[in-house]
Structures are given as structure tokens and as C-alpha cells.
């Protein structure tokens, strides 16, 4: 909501500038857990190149504001993942990449966490097993929309869930 007057002066709010800066410089923590990490690396590497979106992978959670949970979270690593999430400074967002991180995926077993949203709140779920780099980029763009929507005071509109209704056989 920036206004430019005739003298070339831009008028805007501090919130607007902060939000613009935040959504165009999302710095994820470089943590790979499983297969999805390979696709995350592909997203960052030569062909898809997330640098052009201002996304630079950082080695330390203290310097990052996005956590991309790429892969299966097992019970043993869950407390440490939570620790890393807690170490990140606010504001922070979480992208849950792939079926395993979102809901346990194909591993409904004794040792797998059935969805990373049981320990940390998730902003964007990216489906796939593993999601392609394009899908991850979609997730990041979706997160940018969410950050923008929050600045404007409205909640990011989710797709309304259609409740299942009883179906009747078609009579011919």
C-alpha cells in the first residue's frame, strides 16, 4: 500500500516495509532429514535456484526465520527439532515438506512421528513423496502470500473444507 507522490517520495508504513522485507528474504535453516532433503537441495541448486527469491540457506537457527521440515521426523529426533525451532528468533514460519512431515506419510510405525504439527505449529504443508522442487517453490510462494496477508490484517484464506455428505445412488 505504498503511495508515490509527484516529487518521487514514497509514503508507506513501517509495517509494510517490514513485511516486504521479511517475505523477500526468507532464510531457511539448512536441515535435511530424509529423501525430501535431496529435493530441497535441488531447489537450492543450479536449476531452480532459490537465491532469486531471496532464499539463502543458513547453517544456524539463530540466523534463520523459516524451518523447512524436509523428511521423516522420527520420535528420537523430535525433541531436537523442537529445540531448533525454539532457537529461531521471531517471527518464524514452518514449511512441512512431504507426506512424512505432514502426517507420517507411508510410515505408520512405532518410531515415526505422525505429523510434525504435533510438536511445532506448521504454516504451509507441501504434499508429495517427495515433493518436486516446483512444489516446494509453490510452498514458499504460498508462505509469502501468508506473510503479506497477515500484514494487511486479514487471515490468509484457506480453502474451505467440504464436509462429507451422504451420497445416494443415481436412479436412472
Amino acid at each position: 500500500m505504498a503511495i508515490m507522490n509527484n516529487n518521487g517520495i514514497i509514503l508507506t508504513t513501517a509495517e509494510e516495509v517490514l513485511s516486504w522485507g521479511r517475505r523477500n528474504s526468507l532464510w531457511p535453516v539448512s536441515i535435511g532429514l530424509a529423501c525430501c532433503a535431496i529435493e530441497m537441495m535441488h531447489t537450492a541448486a543450479s536449476r531452480f535456484d532459490t537465491d532469486r527469491l531471496g532464499i539463502i540457506f543458513r547453517g544456524s537457527p539463530r540466523q534463520s526465520d523459516v524451518l523447512i521440515v524436509a523428511g521423516t521426523v522420527v520420535n528420537k529426533v523430535a525433541p531436537m527439532l523442537k529445540l531448533i525451532y525454539d532457537q529461531m528468533p521471531d517471527p518464524k514460519w514452518v514449511i512441512s515438506m512431504g507426506g512424512c512431515a505432514s502426517a507420517g506419510g507411508p510410515f505408520p510405525t512405532y518410531s515415526t512421528l505422525q505429523g510434525v504439527d504435533r510438536i511445532i505449529p506448521v504454516d504451509v504443508y507441501v504434499p508429495g513423496c517427495p515433493p518436486t522442487p516446483q512444489a516446494l517453490l509453490w510452498g514458499i510462494l504460498e508462505l509469502q502470500k501468508k506473510i503479506k496477508a497477515k500484514r494487511e490484517g486479514k487471515e490468509f484464506k484457506e480453502i474451505p473444507i467440504k464436509k462429507a455428505e451422504p451420497s445416494f445412488p443415481i436412479n436412472k
Binding site: 536441515i31 535431496i38 528420537k76 529426533v77 531448533i84 507411508p106 510410515f107 505408520p108 512405532y110
Partner: protein, 583 residues
């Protein structure tokens, strides 16, 4: 590969009263009493006419109705006979003697058996949990333990709002999650602080190639003692295998070693095919061989990129990923999925080669050698590269046998152990290739061996393409066999195929009773599948012998006395994948 039979070891047979030979067609094995096990193994290891020096695998199978309940299974390889041997023994009172005195490679395998089955090993130096944490109460691979675990912790989703429809099928109760204190206790049991400081490296660290947790006991910069905690990606794949049909397990094999998915598929499917007596079609065999080798190049490229990245050469990372994208496009064009393709089926492959696939591969074959040269120009004679790699982590030939190292790690130490040569599956006996061998066995040799392997793989791909061009009209899957799923077209056209498809998908492949051990040469070493079938649609037990698991085991030995900076080099040159080590 041939299996050792009664005649081969007849001359020592009289010394052991309880030694019994069972001549199964697919997996002949010896059975021996527990008290004679250690002398027998010592004898066949040290006897100059036998020399079963190489440790392949150790595992346990659970038979709840039998007394004693657990059976230990050992696999060894003889250097002279060029044969494997399978030895079984029943664990009296849930105890077994430890083999760590004979083979150091048994250390982790025994820890795993203790973790998964609760068997005690007498004489083991530090018997702790391998994958789960110390205060975990259950033994998951026992038959009476449910696959979904004991859901006793209230752990609701933070995103699900009360009253709204949950986005997926979920329960609010969950299996127990360890606390930080539990993990601290796990750590303390592994390593006692003797020097200055215990440094944690991992589990969530960019340099650890996944989620491996290293503990270094440091004196200044020098590592005095080291241990590794695995299990940060233990997803219970072996437990899943017991609960799904043979075909349903194929997608799990590529999620194990996700960098070389097709190689794992092929290794598993070959084992199942041998169990079911299914013969895949000629064309399918050639396609498998070709894709395996493409996948090997793909895997080695990832290794090269990340290895160089860890040592500070970011350019190589970007270059190799450029090439990887090309291979992944080829695989996506053929299989439909980029990474975990699940393309191989029992009896053949899922889809026929699409039009133009061979042209694209031909183009890649022409293009790739120049790219490979590019990498070598940057790295091979690079001064920094040489200083970081030469003389680091020298693996002796004896250690290769002792730890059961396989793959490029073994070949860099001069051991010509390649499953493609000694037990050719698919079409490896008809293609011409060489096995590069190292001389010193240090990190630099491992680098050179893998670079040469890429060239050899390209050579194999070339031969396969030439062959496949002649086989254009052949069938890609042997659907005549009763165990093989019909193709989609057949299912829609004939009712017999539909019934067969239904039966196979619902009840699974009713495999004949028996056992099988078959391995394939993965980029990471020997990936073996030991399947016990009880004549049901699901395997009774599937043991996965992972190459990366055994290769990683030598890491603590190699890092001792070296500086902490070498840890990155060593780990990169051993090239483990956590999905496979933890399963």
C-alpha cells in the same frame, strides 16, 4: 553366488558334534549349537583351506512358538572358495555369544539385535541400544509388538482446530517421544569422558549428510575416542516389510536409500523373484541394468557435489547438480517420478520405455564425459584437495574383511569385491566393464575409484542402449507368470487378468515356503535382502543388509588420533545414507 555345502567343510565336520547341514535348494545352511558356535566360526575363519574371513551380516529371527524363541543367522564370505556360508543357531535363554572378538563388524549388528529383539550378547564391549533411546522399554521387531507401537502419550496436533474435520486420519494419542534427559542418558552410555571435552556433531547439522549423531572425546583438537548414535531416521522399515505384501514393499526400498532408489528396487525385486521363481523378460533385464547404472552415476554425482561442498568447493556442487537434473529428467521421463521412482516390478518393469528415451540417453552419454573431465580438472590435481584427502583414513585390507566393508570403500583398499562380478544378476554377465581398484585405501583413493566407476557405468549404459535399440518390440514385463501383476491394459481387457490383479493386490504373492538371501551392488556397497517366507502373502521376516551401515562402522576407528577437521573428509569419503543405515 554359490553357497557352501556339506562337502566343502567335510574335513572339519567331525570336530563339531552338533553341526547339522540342511540342504535347501535356495539357501543351504548349517545349524550348530550355541556352545559350539564360537569354536566353529574360529575354525572356519582361520583354517587356511576355508578362510571365511569376510563378515557379511548377522541377524535374528523371532519364532514365538518355538523354544528357544530366537534364532541367530550369520552370513560369511570365503576368499578362497568364493562362496558364502549361512550358519544358524538358536539363542538359549535369549543369550548369544558375542562375535566382536572375531569380527569387529559384528559390534553394531549385535547392538541392533539387542535393540530390536532384546537378546543379550556375552562378551560385547558396550551393549547399548542401536536405534531407539536408552529408556525405551520395548523390543520392536518381536512378533508380539504391534507395528503402530504403544500409543500412550497425549500429543494432539497443534494445527487441528477443535470441531473442524481433521485434514488427515489421525488420533490424539501417540507413541512416546523421548525427553532431552532420555537423549542425554543415551549419549552418556555411549562414551565416557576421558579427555578434555565431549563434542557433539549432529544430529541436525548440515555436514553430517543427514541425521547422524557423532560424539567426539577431544584432547585439544585431536579426537581420542568416538562413537556414533544412529536411529535419527529409524522408521521401522523391517517391521513394515512383515505387514505388507511383496509388491507393496517396493516403494519402501527406494525410500531407504533415496539417492540410489532404482538400485535398491532392483536388489529387492531380484531377491523376491528368486524366491518366487519368476523370470523377468529379456528387455526388462536390460532396462534394469541400464537404469541401475544411470542411478549409480546419479548417486556418485551427489556424493561428489556434497563432498566437495563440505571441503569448501561450492562450484562442484552446482556443476554436479546440473548433471543430476539431466539424469533425473531421464528417469522422470521413463518412470514418471523424479527421485523415488518405484519403477521396478516383480517380473519386469512398470512401463515400457517411452518413445525417444534412448535418444535422450544417447545424448547424455555423449555429453557427460566432457563434464566429468571438467570436474577432474578442478579437483584431481588441486593442491587443497590433495592436502585434505591424501593419507586421510587409510583402510587396510584386513579391516575390510573385519568390518565387512563393501562397495567403493572396499575396492579403494584393493579388495575386488563387486557383486556385479561375483554374483551377476540381470544382464551384468553380458556387459563388459572393469572394476577400478585403489592401492592405498585413503580418502583420495576412494575419490579416484568413484570417479572411475562413473566412467565404467557410462560404458555399461552405452552397451545397454545398443542392445535395447534392437529389442524395441519386446515385452517389458512377464505377465504370463502367475505371480506377476498384469499391466493396466490387460486388466481392462480380460476378466482373468482382472481377477489375477485383484488376488495379487489383496492377498499378495503366495510365495513358497523357504528362505533367500540375495544382494545387489548399490553405489553404497552390498545391499542384501534376507527374506524368510512361511508360504503366506507377506514375508515372515525381511532383513536388510545395508552397505552404508557396515561402512560407517569403521568411522570411529579411522578418526581416532586425527584432528576434528578430518571428520568431514572421512564421512564424505565413506558416503553413508542415513535412510539406509537406520532403515
Amino acid at each position: 553366488m554359490l553357497w557352501t555345502k556339506q562337502d566343502d567343510i567335510a574335513f572339519i565336520g567331525d570336530n563339531f558334534e552338533s553341526l547339522k547341514f540342511v540342504d535347501n535348494e535356495k539357501l543351504p545352511y548349517f545349524e550348530i549349537n550355541q556352545n559350539e558356535l564360537l569354536p566353529f566360526l574360529k575354525e572356519i575363519k582361520e583354517n587356511p583351506n576355508l578362510q571365511f574371513k569376510m563378515f557379511i551380516d548377522f541377524t535374528v529371527a523371532d519364532y514365538p512358538l518355538h523354544k528357544p524363541r530366537f534364532q541367530g543367522v550369520y552370513f560369511l564370505y570365503s576368499l578362497i572358495l568364493k562362496k558364502r556360508i549361512c550358519i544358524k543357531t538358536w539363542a538359549e535363554n535369549e543369550r548369544l555369544p558375542s562375535l566382536t572378538g572375531l569380527w569387529k563388524g559384528a559390534k553394531w549388528a549385535e547392538r541392533e539385535a539387542y535393540d530390536m529383539f532384546g537378546i543379550q550378547f556375552e562378551g560385547h564391549e558396550n551393549l547399548v541400544r542401536m536405534f531407539m533411546w536408552e529408556s525405551y522399554q520395548y523390543y520392536p521387531l518381536r512378533k508380539d509388538f504391534p507395528i503402530e507401537g504403544i500409543k500412550d502419550t497425549y500429543l494432539p496436533s497443534l494445527n487441528e482446530k477443535p470441531g473442524s474435520m481433521p485434514s488427515h486420519d489421525y488420533e490424539e494419542y501417540h507413541t512416546a517421544i523421548p525427553t532431552m534427559e532420555d537423549l542425554e542418558e543415551t549419549e552418556k552410555k555411549r562414551i565416557q569422558k576421558k579427555a578434555q571435552i565431549v563434542l557433539n556433531w549432529g544430529p541436525l547439522h548440515p555436514g553430517t549428510h543427514g541425521t547422524i549423531w557423532f560424539l567426539f572425546d577431544l584432547e585439544g583438537e585431536k579426537v581420542q575416542n568416538c562413537d556414533i548414535i544412529l536411529g535419527q531416521l529409524h522408521r521401522g522399515v523391517e517391521k513394515i516389510a512383515e505387514n505388507v505384501t511383496y509388491t507393496q514393499f517396493i516403494p519402501y526400498t527406494d525410500r531407504m536409500d533415496y539417492i540410489s532408489a532404482i538400485c535398491s528396487n532392483v536388489a529387492y525385486v531380484n531377491a523376491v523373484e528368486k524366491l518366487l521363481n519368476v523370470e523377468p523378460t529379456e528387455k526388462a533385464k536390460w532396462i534394469r541394468t541400464m537404469l541401475c547404472e544411470l542411478q549409480r552415476i546419479n548417486s556418485h554425482l551427489l556424493w561428489l557435489g556434497t563432498y566437495a561442498l563440505d571441503l569448501g568447493a561450492l562450484t562442484i556442487f552446482l556443476y554436479t547438480f546440473r548433471e543430476r537434473e539431466k539424469i533425473m529428467d531421464i528417469i522422470e521421463g521413463i518412470a514418471g517420478i523424479r527421485l523415488n521412482s518405484s519403477y521396478i516390478r516383480i517380473g519386469g518393469v512398470r512401463l515400457d520405455l517411452p518413445e525417444g528415451a534412448l535418444d535422450v540417453i544417447n545424448h547424455f552419454i555423449k555429453d557427460f564425459p566432457t563434464k566429468l573431465e571438467e570436474y577432474e580438472t578442478i579437483l584431481t590435481k588441486n593442491r587443497v584437495w590433495l592436502k585434505r584427502n591424501v593419507g586421510v583414513g587409510i583402510i587396510e585390507e584386513e579391516d575390510v574383511y573385519n568390518y565387512g566393508l563393501t562397495g567403493a570403500v572396499a575396492r579403494a583398499s584393493g579388495v575386488a569385491y563387486d557383486i556385479r562380478m561375483i554374483q551377476p544378476t540381470d544382464k551384468y554377465d553380458e556387459v563388459d566393464f572393469e572394476i577400478p581398484l585403489g592401492t592405498v585405501g585413503d580418502s583420495y583413493d576412494r575419490y579416484l575409484v568413484r570417479m572411475e566407476e562413473m566412467r565404467q557405468s557410462l560404458n555399461i549404459v552405452k552397451q545397454c542402449v545398443e542392445k535395447l535399440e534392437k529389442l524395441k518390440d519386446d515385452k517389458h514385463i512377464a505377465t504370463d507368470n502367475p505371480y506377476v501383476l498384469p499391466t493396466l491394459d490387460e486388466t481392462f481387457i480380460s476378466i482373468e487378468s482382472m481377477v489375477k490383479d485383484f488376488n495379487l493386490r489383496i492377498y499378495g504373492e503366495q510365495a513358497p515356503e523357504g528362505e533367500i538371501y540375495l544382494s545387489g551392488e548399490n553405489p553404497r556397497g552390498e545391499l542384501g535382502f534376507y527374506i524368510i517366507s512361511k508360504g503366506e502373502g507377506r514375508p515372515y521376516r525381511t532383513r536388510i543388509r545395508s552397505g552404508a551401515f557396515y561402512n560407517l562402522q569403521i568411522f570411529p576407528e579411522l578418526i581416532k588420533g586425527r584432528t576434528i577437521a578430518d571428520a568431514v573428509v572421512l564421512l564424505g569419503s565413506l558416503d553413508p545414507v542415513v535412510g539406509e543405515t537406520d532403515r
